[in-house]
Symmetry: C2
Subunit: 215 residues, 2 copies
């Protein structure tokens, strides 16, 4: 199948496949199967095959997939050859951790700037990342070619920060605040809400653990 349109659910799994393939390559495997890849990625084999079919990939029936070729195809689809510079907004606990996080740069998402309202931070660097005031956003987005904004501010400041990111031309936002951001339709927001995740876990704990409390 041609890669005309890849379903969202598939896109969300491609990074996992890519990482799994990396492990396989590191372990010296030159060939793999949908079964093995499924095991590594934590999904089932039919899903792996269907997902890969959207990439227009061609494994070999009776044999499997060539690891190196598959890495190439998945990388291609994800566009990992591109580099998308990131700005981190808000240098609280989480923002600082994100700014320091080296894994981003390795994957093509270098944190090239940070924004904070604290005048004591502005003008300094935090782990090599220069800190700017909010007013400087539009300019640094332009001069540094920033493509993605990370919102790590307190939730009260999140919407204002998002507005400023959008005004500065950013079209992709990763939001760590608990707030629901309101942005134009052409801006993509991915929300990572840690409290929500915990509450979902809590829901299932509550459901599964007690075999119904006695009256």
């Amino acid at each position: 199948m041609a890669s005309g349109h890849i379903p969202e659910a598939t896109v969300a799994r491609l990074p996992v496949y890519l990482r799994s393939l990396g492990e396989l390559a590191a372990s010296g495997a030159s060939t793999t199967s949908s079964d093995v890849l499924a095991e590594l990625a934590g999904v089932n084999a039919a899903k792996v095959r269907k997902d890969l079919s959207y990439l227009g990939t061609h494994g070999t029936r009776g044999v499997g997939y060539d690891v190196r070729h598959l890495v190439f195809e998945v990388s291609q689809a994800l566009g990992v050859a591109n580099t998308w510079p990131v700005v981190v907004c808000g240098l609280g606990n989480l923002g600082r951790a994100l700014a320091k996080h080296t894994g981003f740069t390795e994957r093509g998402f270098p944190v090239v700037a940070a924004i904070d309202v604290n005048p004591e931070l502005v003008g300094r660097t935090v782990d090599g990342v220069p800190v700017h005031p909010p007013a400087a956003l539009a300019e640094i987005v332009r001069t540094l070619g920033i493509a993605i904004g990370v919102v790590a501010t307190p939730s009260a400041a999140a919407q204002g920060t998002a507005d400023r990111l959008v005004a500065a031309g950013i079209r992709s936002i990763l939001d760590f605040s608990p707030a629901v951001l309101s942005v134009p339709h052409y801006v993509e927001v991915r929300a990572v809400d840690l409290s929500t995740e915990l509450q979902i876990l809590g829901f299932h704990l509550q459901r599964d653990l007690p075999p119904l409390p006695p009256v």
Copy 2:
């Protein structure tokens, strides 16, 4: 409709509704509608009504929902009255940020202990959270009644950490490592992979921005 079974997709939205209802209550509203709630939660009104119908809730036709009553019902469904103590494993940048994060305690997920392999940290406290060695896991889970384990170790250590959490009796894991954890079926894992999120944003940037590069 009775709350016999709530779809996963609905469960994942309940925390968002709860937060939105909190904002409404804070702004003094005593009544609301599926429209208003939808706007605040960033979804559409039909979804709100369908979701709430799973809770067996009763709004008033022609009027809307009583905010206070709805807060009660959603809270009830999520079990937010419960407190689920959390242990954070791995005190790198991210782990430390999570340990310091006060929002968790407020929502019923107090971080009561941390685990790290670094002997210089063990025995000390990080922002009031006592640090234990990995070997102490089973004991602190038992004595502190820990329900949820957060994996914030380097990815190489993630599976081992998960194994130890499971052995210690933990059934709910929030995983921040890029690794896919392999756990028994009765253990629920929620993975929050920051690089994956960025790669998904990158995929769409690649797709949407260039109107196809010229040959």
